[in-house]
Each structure stands twice: as structure tokens, then as C-alpha cells.
Symmetry: C2
């Protein structure tokens, strides 16, 4: 990755510009990514399905289209990796479950269709934990193979971190984008609930599921959001809105220095000592730009509310397939959450959903004074072993549907990455990227 | 009501036209309605709150506004009665419950605000059963004081039937508009779910609650829907849509004779013999315009699904107030449904909601071939006694959110009215009124 002539050292924005200008072909770029995958996949195990010839054929077709004067999308010729819970018409989609082995969807999910329409090469499908829940796949953390890449979007985070692809998509129902992005040291983004359509993707919970992105810069995050975001009649939670210009806004200078609320949340004590110190030091260094804000006690129940909604919705959506799989086909963890959801009381479920709206209303107050919340992405660096780590620092923002990004600005033991999470106001995704960009520049300066 | 010089014999459309033209003042018209109320209220008990002086003051202000060249809405000067579950800034809103005695909202509900913006005189608040559920208020059926007017919009239906007002609004979570309209022999309409905002009205169930109307003609129904329908940011189920022209469309001749599906539904056997015969005769007389369509067996579970959703949602929304009221403040029926909802399983609840979508998808097939479904509004005429009668012939259309009207075209024992219910396709409210108008003319011819 140190050779500046090697296209994989480019950002997606740079690569897309060179491809559009004819200085780089998609075939060369995709080929370089495939070479990198070939070199490190044995160690990382990021991909569930990869067909180099098919990826190169997509790239050549995109090159041909550009040369013949056809339309060139923002991602024209750029390889993107896709978590194996998004339906793809060309690749299998198995959701990390033996029950779905060999499943071949008829059609692309909306997110994949939008990527293709934006010119992306869908290079392959990345490893997901079983049904995007806890049971891990084979992926290892590129920074240390003894450690988890995090889950559930394990392969997408690892593929971007290992330089296999500049961009990837995943999904988050609790902490499945932010956590692996933080553990792998890349930029993860979970935009406002309903920003990206989930049609044709595995559904765990209509209320909690978000599509998210992995990239190696804020600019690249803006680029892929620009292509993915938008209304879809097949996802009732998407919104009819003027498309915000993520790219221009993310690159803009904020009109005045952003103000940050350092929100430690009720789970702060569960972060390890090194993480707490790293955050306190970072916040100290930020000086007047940041103020510590403590959430009211009522927020302590949010984790239980999230759990209730997730368990019930997962039981609603997955019980038939988990029952079909039986003990051989479904992990204990999956069977347990489905059983837990099956036992839940309906009123408790509706109360949890009503509480989520209250938390969101409470957090909205913070954004009247602050541009973004600063909080850890995870309780610490990626743990050793198979378990994918705790999503506890993501649950509240997933429950409330607020936009979140994790920035690889901190590190822990052995230089392992530690994610700094920023939360923005509902719908303020482009502004959150602008704020994040400002913070990244501050940290670099 | 037989004196043609008496304004209360006018339709709302005629009265609005005369008021707009200066031939009739709102004060005269409202005064005539108040006279009628004074004459029959002792027998009917339609009103929970009535202030004749305040109503006349509204009417005089509207007359003054018209004379001074101010804007004249479609309902300018026309008295409308409002079920006492809709918040009104001038009248108390007690929802038929002793727990809320003396409650005075700060603001009008959206429906009431729209009526006022359309020029209506909010003449008074009508009797509702306790919290729009089963426990009856004092209202009697204007056709026979020994019989129920139906519920829960008892006073609104009775007030229109007794000639006290030309128009009224109510609400339906199961059969609370269509049933009382049918029992009282007026035109009732429950438009597509989300057509009229429920903001500021008592909520039993976001999924099931509909605002509906009572009138003495299809034209008057179109007139009040024209004023009430539309998007409201405060009711997430309302839709941003071009406002359909209910008035013109309802009055139009259908391009070709409508085709009707006679759907007896799985509860047909629970209709009494007289009702079944009356419908079979009516359908026979319609001849080639109608075809009998039997619903698949799966629809038999819809009534249980409706019950589950209603019980859970009512428990979610009313449990705190019912607990506050205790045995003295809440009826046994209300306490029982809240307790039932409190015991329900969350997965059963989500399954019921998913099933509702399946029924709606199944019914949508019928509207590819037919303009409307014909079905009874009730299992028979208004029963004697206090109980408000069964909503069973309404539950399926409420559960699926389809537009329904009841037409007073049939009668039963002793000439008591028997409602013929028409169901239209989702969002096809204006077309349903046009179809209904055609059928009313056929029946009259």
C-alpha cells in the first residue's frame, strides 16, 4: 500500500476522478484490488463470495461504457464490497447462515442497485456474522489476526481496513457498522434511520435496522452516501427529501468552529480504563470546543428498551427460519434471542418503542446547542478471540435513529485502533460529515 | 322537518350555497338547528356539551366575516357536531369518561381546526361511549328510543339522524362510525386510514383509529371530507397527496356502470335472517352489476387479529388513565380490554399486524375487477337496550384501512334502518363516493 503508483493507495474520490478522466481504467483499479485481496485474504477472510473474473468483467463493461460516451456515475469503476445480507442478482446471498447456503436471489437489493447505478463494481460479498447477529464468521482483524474485526459487518470493515477495497457497505441493528469500523480503524457511518433503503436486505428489525458504510476517509464516506441515500417506495422508513449534497457539504469549512457535547452515557463505567483516559485526554485537548453533558437518569433504561425491541423484532422476522434450521442450523445465541423475543409482552414492546421516541426527543435538545456528540464507539480495542465485542456504545444511537460516524483518531494497547464516535442530529447527516472532517483536520494538525 | 321553508330540511351543500349567496344567514341556520335540538334533545340525548349562545356567536361572526368580504370556506356558516373525543379549545372534551370530567383542552384538534378553517360552526360536542369503547352514554336511537343509536359515535349519528345538524364527525377503531350511522339511518363514511388527521383526538390505536363523518347525503359527505382530508405533520399516518376533489368526483357520473363484489365475509352467518334476506334481495335486484365473491379461509382469523391489535394498543394508550380511574372511574368492559391487552404476547401482536397487511393485499385484488364491495354494515337493525351492537361487519375494513361508507338504503323490522356498506380500494375515497352516489340513484329509481 506504500507504492503511490499502486491504485489501491488512492481514495475512492481520487480513483473515481482518474477513471472519469481516463487516467485509470476500472479494470486496472479492480485488478489492483483483486491482487491485494489475493495477497491478504488468507489471513483476513473478509469475503464470503468473490469471483475475480466476474468483477473484472463488470469493470471492463464500465470502461467500455465510459469510452463509448455513456453516462458516468459518481462511483464509476470503483470496486465496492457488500455485506452478504444484501441481495445480489449475480452473487449468492447467504446471510452467514448454513440454512441459506447456496441461496441465489433473483434481484439486487435497492442499496446494491443504487451502487450499480452509480457506476460501482460490486466486487464481492463480505462475511457477516450469522444473520447479522453475534455468531462470528471466519474474518480476522487485519491489525492483529488474534483479534476480532467486530461484527456483524465483519468482512466489510476488514476488507476496507486491509486495503482490499476503498468502500464497503454493511448494516447496523445495534452496533454492527460502528463497532467493526472502530475495531478495524476505518471510517464507519450509520446515517439517520431511513436514509438508505433496506429493501432486499435481511431484516432483523424495521425500527432498528440501518444500512451503513465503511471507507478510509470522510470524503469517501460522503461519496458513497451520495449514491446510496434516497427515497424507496419499498422501504416505508425512507423519506421523500431533496437529496442533500453530501460531497460538497462534507468538504465545506464549517461557518464557525463546531461545538461538541462529550456524552459519556450510562455505560461509561463499562469502558476500559485506557479508553476512558484516551477520551478524557482527547476532550481536554479540544478545549473550549467541547463541554461534558450528562444524560438524565431516565436514559439508563434505553439499553433494555433496545434489547426488547431487537429480541421481539428478530423473533418476528427470523423465528420461522430459525425453527427450520433447528440446533444444527442456528447458533445457540440466535436461538436464545428468538426465544426471548417470543416470550416478550406486547405492552412492554410498545412501551420500549414509545421510550425510544422520548430518548430521541431528549437528545434533540442537545443539538440545539451542540453540533455533535462525542462518545466512544466501543468500550475498548478489539478483543482477542472470536466474540465480536460489545455494541453497548452504539445501542442508544441506533435506538434513536441518529446519524453516527466513527473516526479512527485514537489508539489503545499495541497501537490497536480505538474509534471516536460522533453523533449528529436527526437528518443532519451531511452536516455531521462536515463536523467530522473538521475534527479529523484538528486531530491531524 | 317537513316544512321546506325550515333551513334544517336543507342539505349542507344547499345551505352553504345559500349562505354564500346571502340568501340565508348562518345565524338563522344555526338558530334553526338549535331549535330542533331544543325540541328533541330530551328524547335523543345526542349532546355532551352544548352552548347555544356560543354557537350563535360563532354564526354571527361568520355572517359578519362574509358581509365584510372575508374569505368564505366550503362549510361557511354550517353547524357541525363533534364527537367528544376531539379536543376543542372552546368546549370541554371528556371522552365520555368521569375521569376526564371538566377537562378543557388548550387547543383544537386538527380535525376541528380544519372544520373551523372551512367556515363551520362547531355547534357542540356529542356523546361518545366511554373512551370510544363499549360502555354506552345516554344517547337513544331517534327512530326508536328503546333502541341503541350504536356506538361509539352515538351522539354524532343520532344528531344527524334527528335533524339537529346536517353534519357531524366521529371516529372508528372497529365499527364506531359505520355502525351508528347504519343504526340511525344516515350516511356514514370512514375514509382510508390516514385520510383525516387524528392529532388532538383520543387515541386508542394508531393502526386502527380513523376519523369519520355523518351526513344525510353523499354530496354532504363529500363536502365535509373536502374540508377534513389532508396531510398533517402531527399525524404520521396522513399522506402528502394532491387533494382529491371529493365534491366534483362524488357528483360525477361513473364512466361506466360500477361493478360490485358482494362479499358476505366469514361473519355472514352471524347476521340475522332478515338482514341476510334483505341483502340477497338487493343483490338479486342489482343483477349483472354484482357478483358474489367469497374470501379465502385465511380471512377468518382477521377478527382475532383486529382484537389483538385493539387490546394491546388500547392498553398501551389507556392503561395509565384506567388505572388512575380504578373501579369507580372505568367500566368493567374497559378494564377488561386493557387487562387483556396487558397480557398479550409481543410476537402475536406483530403477527396480527403483519396479517393485516396480507388481508389488505388480498382485498386489493378484488378492486382490480370491482369498483366496490357490498356487505352489511351491521348484523341487523339497532338492538333494544343499552348495548351498542356488534361491529363485526366493520372489523375487517378497519383492520385493513380501506374506505367504507354506509348507505341507508334498506330497512328491517318496524321500518328500522339497515345500512348497506360499500368498501372501496385504498385511497379511492372520492371514487367510492361516486360509486355510492350511483347506487343511491339506482335504488331510488
Amino acid at each position: 500500500m506504500s507504492d503511490p503508483a499502486d491504485p489501491i493507495s488512492l481514495t475512492a474520490l481520487e480513483a473515481a476522478e482518474r477513471i472519469a478522466g481516463g487516467e485509470l481504467s476500472s479494470e486496472e483499479y479492480t485488478g489492483a484490488c483483486l491482487d491485494r485481496i489475493a495477497a491478504v485474504e488468507d489471513r483476513v477472510h473478509a469475503f464470503a463470495h468473490l469471483d475475480p473474473d466476474a468483477a473484472l468483467a463488470q469493470a471492463r463493461a464500465l470502461d467500455e461504457r465510459r469510452r463509448s460516451g455513456g453516462p458516468v456515475g459518481p462511483l464509476h469503476g470503483v470496486p465496492v464490497a457488500v455485506k452478504d445480507i444484501f441481495d445480489t442478482a449475480d452473487y449468492p446471498t447467504e446471510c452467514g447462515s448454513p440454512i441459506l447456503r447456496g441461496r441465489r436471489p433473483m434481484r439486487d437489493s435497492t442499496a446494491v442497485a443504487r451502487l450499480r447505478a452509480g457506476g460501482a463494481v460490486i466486487i464481492g460479498k463480505t462475511v457477516t456474522t450469522e444473520f447479522a447477529y453475534y455468531h462470528p464468521g471466519p474474518t480476522r482483524n487485519p491489525h492483529d489476526p488474534e483479534r476480532t474485526p467486530g461484527g456483524s459487518s465483519s468482512g466489510s470493515a476488514a476488507a476496507v481496513a486491509a486495503g482490499m477495497v476503498p468502500l464497503a457497505i454493511g448494516s447496523q441493528t445495534n452496533g454492527s457498522v460502528i463497532r467493526p469500523a472502530a475495531f478495524c480503524g476505518v471510517y464507519g457511518c450509520k446515517p439517520t434511520h431511513g436514509t438508505i433503503s433496506r429493501h432486499g436486505a435481511l431484516m432483523l428489525s424495521q425500527t432498528l435496522d440501518h444500512v451503513g458504510t465503511f471507507a478510509r476517509s470522510i470524503g469517501d464516506t460522503a461519496l458513497i452516501l451520495q449514491v446510496l441515500a434516497g427515497y424507496d417506495a419499498d422501504d416505508a422508513d425512507t423519506r421523500v427529501l431533496a437529496a442533500p449534497d453530501f460531497l460538497d457539504m462534507a468538504a465545506d469549512e464549517p461557518p464557525q468552529p463546531p461545538r461538541f457535547a462529550f456524552v459519556r452515557t450510562p455505560v461509561w463505567d463499562k469502558a476500559d480504563a485506557g479508553t476512558r483516559e484516551a477520551f478524557e485526554r482527547f476532550v481536554d485537548d479540544l478545549g473550549e470546543s467541547v463541554q461534558t453533558v450528562d444524560l438524565p437518569d431516565a436514559f439508563a433504561a434505553a439499553w433494555d428498551d433496545h434489547r426488547t425491541i431487537m429480541a421481539v423484532d428478530m423473533a418476528h422476522n427470523l423465528r420461522p427460519i430459525v425453527e427450520r434450521g433447528g440446533e444444527a442450523g442456528a447458533s445457540k445465541a440466535l436461538r436464545e434471542i428468538v426465544a426471548e423475543g417470543g416470550r416478550a409482552n406486547a405492552l412492554r414492546y410498545l412501551d420500549a418503542r414509545a421510550n425510544a421516541k422520548r430518548y430521541a426527543a431528549g437528545l434533540a435538545e442537545i443539538f440545539k446547542e451542540f453540533d455533535a456528540i462525542i462518545t466512544p464507539a466501543t468500550p475498548g480495542i478489539a478483543p482477542k478471540g472470536d466474540a465480536t465485542g460489545s455494541p453497548m456504545f452504539c445501542s442508544l444511537w441506533t435506538l434513536t435513529g441518529l446519524p453516527a460516524v466513527t473516526l479512527p483518531l485514537l489508539s489503545g494497547e499495541g497501537g490497536m485502533p480505538l474509534g471516536l464516535q460522533l453523533i449528529g442530529e436527526r437528518g443532519g447527516d451531511a452536516r455531521l460529515l462536515r463536523t467530522a472532517n473538521w475534527l479529523v483536520q484538528q486531530a491531524a494538525g
